[in-house]
């Protein structure tokens, strides 16, 4: 029987990595399907075609009918009359953002820490004031923005891309290294003439193979379903994805350098990734966090990757505009890789 001659160790190791990955249906789901489903769900939930209405309740009573009429005349409000008990309950569980107790003078019952309640109060107040005869001194012109590039989905997609590059990079490298260690396969490989560098490099190369598929899946999906376009050059996006993937593979290698068990490495992975999911501006802008925390947040690799991706995809920045973020990624990846090599447990 004729058989394919084995090629270099690096080629065969990388090939084995890719084959193993493709034979793991769960892994394929998390890498490819999950981010697409997430983009779909969030894109639909926050779609910008229809403005969200404020939900307002009116407490039943003698003047309720007039108040309801005044409020209903105003666009952007959805109004319903409620009994006292019902009203309390609705306010508590968020099915109304504001309760209007008809006056005169009317009273507004709401939680000022909730942005949607503050918004409902402003709109309802304007409606009631107008109905009571207040004339607006200014008549501003409204310019609504609906062009692709400034919607939530446009902002979200680079974040999802960054999050996915982080997750896949760390898991695919870290997990397979620790599995090989726990199965004593690393030790067995050490007993062959295989160069250690080839083994580590095969993980990076295997990672890059999936990266191409993973990034294009998400970008093509965003383009076809939501019309998300990239303002800057696709080459810059590709370069950033590559850099991000290498950076997080290095961090994954570092996290996996010592643990002997899957449980051990999973815990460490979560410790490393969870802060970045929350802080690095995947789903909401990291500007929400206090100013004192900003230098720390901006030094995180996922923040750097997300900021750089958004700068290129949304603002059309070139490489010069994202030099700081690129430097952060290079530093994280380089340091992690070197330290990982130093402390790596081969047995």
């Amino acid at each position: 029987m004729s058989e394919r001659r084995p090629r270099s160790a690096l080629y065969e190791l990388t090939r084995a990595r890719v084959i193993e990955f493709l034979r793991e249906p769960e892994a394929v789901f998390w890498v490819f399907a999950f981010p697409v489903l997430m983009a779909l769900a969030l894109g639909v939930a926050f779609r910008s075609e229809r403005t969200e209405e404020s939900l307002v309740g009116v407490l039943q009573g003698p003047a309720a009918a007039d108040t309801t009429r005044a409020l209903s005349a105003r666009p952007g409000l959805r109004v319903r009359e409620l009994g006292p008990e019902e009203a309390d309950k609705a306010l508590r569980n968020g099915t109304i953002s504001l309760l209007v107790v008809p006056g005169p003078p009317p009273a507004y019952r709401f939680d000022p820490t909730r942005p949607e309640s503050r918004l409902a109060r402003l709109v309802a107040d304007a409606a009631l004031q107008a109905a009571a005869g207040r004339a607006d001194p200014l008549q501003p012109r409204e310019e609504t923005v609906k062009t692709p590039g400034s919607r939530y989905i446009d902002w979200l997609l680079p974040g999802l891309l960054g999050m996915n590059i982080m997750g896949t990079g760390m898991w695919s490298v870290g997990f397979s290294v620790v599995v090989a260690r726990s199965r004593k396969l690393l030790k067995r490989l050490m007993a062959t003439p295989m160069a250690r560098g080839s083994y580590l490099a095969s993980h990076l190369l295997g990672r890059l193979t999936f990266l191409v598929l993973e990034v294009s899946t998400l970008l093509v999906f965003g383009r076809l379903v939501f019309g998300v376009r990239t303002a800057g050059s696709l080459l810059a996006v590709a370069g950033l994805c590559l850099l991000g993937a290498l950076c997080f593979s290095g961090i994954g290698l570092l996290v996996a350098a010592r643990p002997r068990t899957i449980e051990g490495v999973s815990g460490l992975m979560n410790v490393v990734m969870l802060p970045m999911w929350l802080l690095s501006g995947v789903f909401f802008s990291s500007a929400h966090f206090p100013a004192a925390a900003q230098p720390f947040i901006r030094a995180l690799p996922l923040t750097a990757l997300n900021e750089a991706l958004r700068a290129v995809m949304l603002e059309g920045q070139g490489l010069l505009g994202i030099a700081t973020q690129v430097a952060v990624l290079v530093a994280w990846g380089g340091v992690a890789f070197v330290v990982a090599l130093k402390i790596f447990r081969w047995r």
Binding site: M1, E3, R4, P6, R7, S8, A9, Y11, E12, L13, A16, I19, E20, R23, E24, A180, R183, K184, L185, K187, R188, M190, A191, T192, P193, M194, R347
Partner: protein, 312 residues
Amino acid sequence: MEAGGAAVRCRGLVKRYDDVTAVDGLDLEVRGGECFGLLGPNGAGKTTTVEVLEGLIAPDAGDVEVLGLRWGKDDRALRQRLGIQLQETQFSDKLTVEEILRLFRSFYEEGRTVGDVLAMVELEAKRGTWYVKLSGGQKQRLAVACALIGNPDLLFLDEPTTGLDPQSRRQLWDLLQRYREQGGTVVITTHYMEEAETLCDRVAVVDKGKVIALGTPRELIRSLGAEHVVEFALGEGAEAPAEALLRGLPGVRDVRLENGHWRLIASEIHLTVPGLLDALGSRRDALVSLATHTATLEDVFMSLTGRRLRDE
């Protein structure tokens, strides 16, 4: 390697783990072309010894030379010439037998083809099967195949048949026989005496990190002074016979008592057994067991240490 030259030479090997001394001043010499067995119970230091010889563990003291080369100096060259099977290695579940072998082949500059090795270990039919779907015996033969793929001069096997059924064990023995016919040297650890007796030209009996006996299986058995063993036990409460009396029985060379079981090393059982029954006299009724067998390496180990090779 010149024929008959030493494939492995080690002197004064010491390896400590925390407060346990796993290997305690061990000396070995394995000749080129022979099958050399390290026989001993679990925890005797066999695996540690072999892993030092394989260059996977650095010894605390001692001198090791493998194929005339030294670890720390000639590692690359040495690794090209060694075939190693470790205890408990598990390959990737979802790679096929062929893919695993091709991967291992890629590490060696020269070696056998995947097809050759598959034929040697009789796994051709499993060529395209995922590792996870192999039986225990097939996995073990694949581990040996991975050790053979670089066409090694020296093959290290660490308890390759532990946990295998008799048929799988026999298949592995046959394949080692084929490797040896091609001139290869084998170092094998085992705690199965029949494995050592069947496979090995010479055996080192290892206990507590030291070699306590060395020779061909036949020499070791002959060192007992006789070729037969008579074992018997008396029921509870029965008065034990005097050891001097047993030693005086015809044909008896040595007497040992272990957990209420008497063991007589004897040269002529047709004289010893009737003599024993006479000597027991009325206590004969209290006999709960009486058995004889041809002496094995297990008996050698027991007469050296007073313990059995295996716990069961």
